[in-house]
């Protein structure tokens, strides 16, 4: 039972190329608002084990009990009663694009996902449309080695013990208001398990798409890299532009067992009416390496601080963060690293851009516990403003409770300099071209750490945003 796709006739902001939406009548769409009944209904629809229902309800209590955060961005306009907490467009999660309803497949075609998979650029692909995962597939040889790459709902059905063992162990339901909300109403997301010693050589990708208006997307992702395993996961996000705001509040938990290596890359390009309030955290054990590469270009407000807890000696955590805020946007992004064991190391590199009245905030926490001697950390955050009416702030917090550590910190806030512009223009580059070149140079240290095709995409998205800002 599918409804033919039709594109939105007008896109209010021409620079946002993913602003189209499908006119689709959802199979299931819960009425707006949040209640125990809504949470129970979601659990019923999914036919979940009882422990999950209890966990959801407990999390709902946490959510209701906690005040809205008063730091970060402006959250006062979110009306939790004006949101659909569950919207399902199709009743199946397919592993062949031919079986995905045409109008949904069309959307992903426009985003170029099936094509990239066909070309072998990806080891596996997941696609979430509103609340549910509609497609998941993984290369056969990886499946044979025991790699699991599933929708989290499917994982809960097929591997309940594995999910139960790790679910909420990295981010407890009462961690913060939005993690509580996610735990109460979560739906979709990716579940990845990589067995000991297995290397997933090219990235697994997931694509998150909000299609419905007044919709909340609450995917839940859980990644477990067993001892010595390696995996790179990439997610992209887009949404149509509606007159009212949508909410995206994900939780991502990652467990890096000893000697494992996990890289998680996000290119977030939500439309400018999406609140993007996400909790991402990883625990890294002996000699494990965890890297977050976090690119925030879209959304109305993003609050996201990927975290690494370094639990055992030799663990290494790294956050590479890039944020770009244009008109009407606030990117409140950063990183959090906790050194909970001796001889652990970390690097935070953050680059933020603000233009056309946009606001970028770097918010970071570096924590070293007493007794975690021999730790080394280097924090560098740079902000670049393209014009006078944009804004940039940095809040780098350090809590160092151990003396025998080596911590480096550097922060800069600058404006695209007259001298740099003049230099490039004196060589014949137009002001727009010169500005682009300076901005590209500024973000280069992060871009070069991305796989080539994502680097190209990221550069393209920044340029697209700048075309709106500098004409």
């Amino acid at each position: 039972m599918t409804t033919p796709a039709s594109e939105a006739p007008v896109t209010p902001r021409s620079e946002y190329e993913f602003g189209f939406h499908d006119d689709v009548e959802a199979l299931v769409k819960l009425p707006k608002g949040l209640s125990r009944e809504v949470v129970n209904t979601i659990s019923d629809i999914k036919d979940e084990p009882e422990w999950m229902r209890k966990l959801r309800l407990k999390a709902l209590d946490h959510f209701n009990a906690r005040p809205m955060p008063e730091w970060g961005g402006e959250l006062g306009d979110i009306d939790f009663n004006d949101i659909h907490y569950y919207v399902r467009a199709t009743d199946r999660d397919e592993s062949d694009w031919e079986d995905v309803p045409d109008y949904i497949k069309d959307t992903y075609d426009k985003l170029g996902i099936p094509e990239a998979e066909k070309q072998g650029l990806l080891a596996g692909v997941g696609a979430q449309y509103d609340s549910e995962v509609v497609y998941h597939n993984i290369r056969e040889d990886l499946e044979e080695k025991g790699v699991l790459f599933l929708g989290t709902d499917q994982a809960l059905r097929e591997h309940p013990d594995l999910v139960k063992e790790y679910f909420t162990t990295v981010i407890p339901p009462n961690d913060n208001k939005f993690a509580a909300l996610n735990t109460a109403v979560w739906s979709g997301g990716s579940f990845i398990y990589v067995p000991p010693g297995v290397t997933v050589d090219i990235p697994l990708q997931a694509y998150f798409r909000i299609n419905s208006e007044d919709m909340g997307q609450f995917e839940r992702t859980l990644i477990i890299a067993d001892e010595g395993a390696e995996v790179h996961y990439v997610e992209g996000c887009t949404a149509p532009i509606y007159s009212s705001d949508s909410l995206h509040s994900a939780v991502v938990e990652i467990v890096c067992k000893p000697g494992s290596n996990v890289r998680y890359t996000t290119i977030q390009n939500w439309s400018n009416n999406v609140y993007n309030l996400v909790t991402k955290r990883a625990t890294a054990y002996q000699d494990a390496v965890m890297t977050w590469v976090d690119g925030n270009l879209g959304s109305k407000l993003t609050m996201k601080y990927p975290a690494v807890y370094l639990m055992e000696p030799g663990a290494h955590g790294e956050v590479l963060s890039i944020a770009s805020a244009g008109q009407g946007q606030h990117q409140d992004a950063g990183a959090k690293i906790v050194h909970a064991a001796p001889n652990t190391t970390s690097v935070i590199t953050s680059k933020s851009l603000s233009m056309d009245g946009g606001r970028s905030t770097y918010r970071g926490l570096l924590k070293v516990y007493d007794g975690a001697d021999g730790c080394r950390s280097n924090v560098r955050c740079d902000a670049l403003m393209l014009d006078e009416h944009s804004r940039s702030d940095t809040y780098p917090v350090m809590e160092i409770d151990e003396k025998k550590v080596d911590i480096g910190h550097e922060a800069t806030v600058s404006k695209v300099g007259d001298e740099q512009l003049f230099y490039l223009m004196a060589r014949g580059l137009s002001e727009a071209e010169a500005t682009k070149m300076i901005v590209n140079g500024f973000v280069e240290p992060i871009i070069k750490s991305l796989p080539l095709e994502y680097a190209v995409e990221m550069n393209r998205l920044i340029e697209l945003q700048m075309e709106g800002a500098i004409g």
Binding site: F422, M425, G441
Partner: protein, 255 residues
Amino acid sequence: MSPPLFEIDALHVAVEDKQIVNGLTLTLRPGEVHAIMGPNGSGKSTLANSLMGHPRYTINGGDVRLDGESVVELAPDERARLGLFLAFQYPTDIPGVSMINFLRRAMSARRGEEIPVREFRQVLNEVLGRLQMDEQFVRRYVNDGFSGGEKKRAEILQLGLLEPKVAVMDETDSGLDIDALRIVSEGINTFHSDDNAILLITHYQRILRYVQPDHVHVLIDGRIVESGDASLAERLERDGYEPFMARAKEEVLTS
């Protein structure tokens, strides 16, 4: 006599509210090398930057013409595309932007069309060789972490690649040791032809031993107080700027 290539006509320049250049007139014809020499604070850098159109400098009188066309209303990039070049005294660093990418964009802008990769590599290698610069040099970020000598060489590299009609060299000799000075000077001489003109702006006479000027002008308080041939530079080297400064003061008092 060939028609003028570059004319500075009764030029007045102010920085913020301070008048720095006070009616400077100078004509460069194709094939000529002019040197403007002046002490600190005489307006050398103001002149150089205003000719290129730096937004901090306000031209509040007179005109500047390239090939007979006024350029004072043009943005720096438009002036550059018409064939005006400024070798910076203090080139700015642009982290994250590779020299090779920057040079290719600049060459394409100067030509008005994309330069083919092959041709670009060829020209680039030729000019690099001439300046005794390693190919790895262009992999580095623009002026980022360059030594003083490397920055000046990078300017000459751009001069060689962009082939402007008029090159204004702002204290290109400052901060160079004798070997670097020789290489940089050779770069300027190789660029120089019957079709272009060079304006060397300098405090010291030493670069003029390598780049022979046809005309030398003495700049004091934003005006030219004396012009002559290459021997004027030698006189300056011997007597210093004092006699000219004293005379300029007298002229101001009696006028």
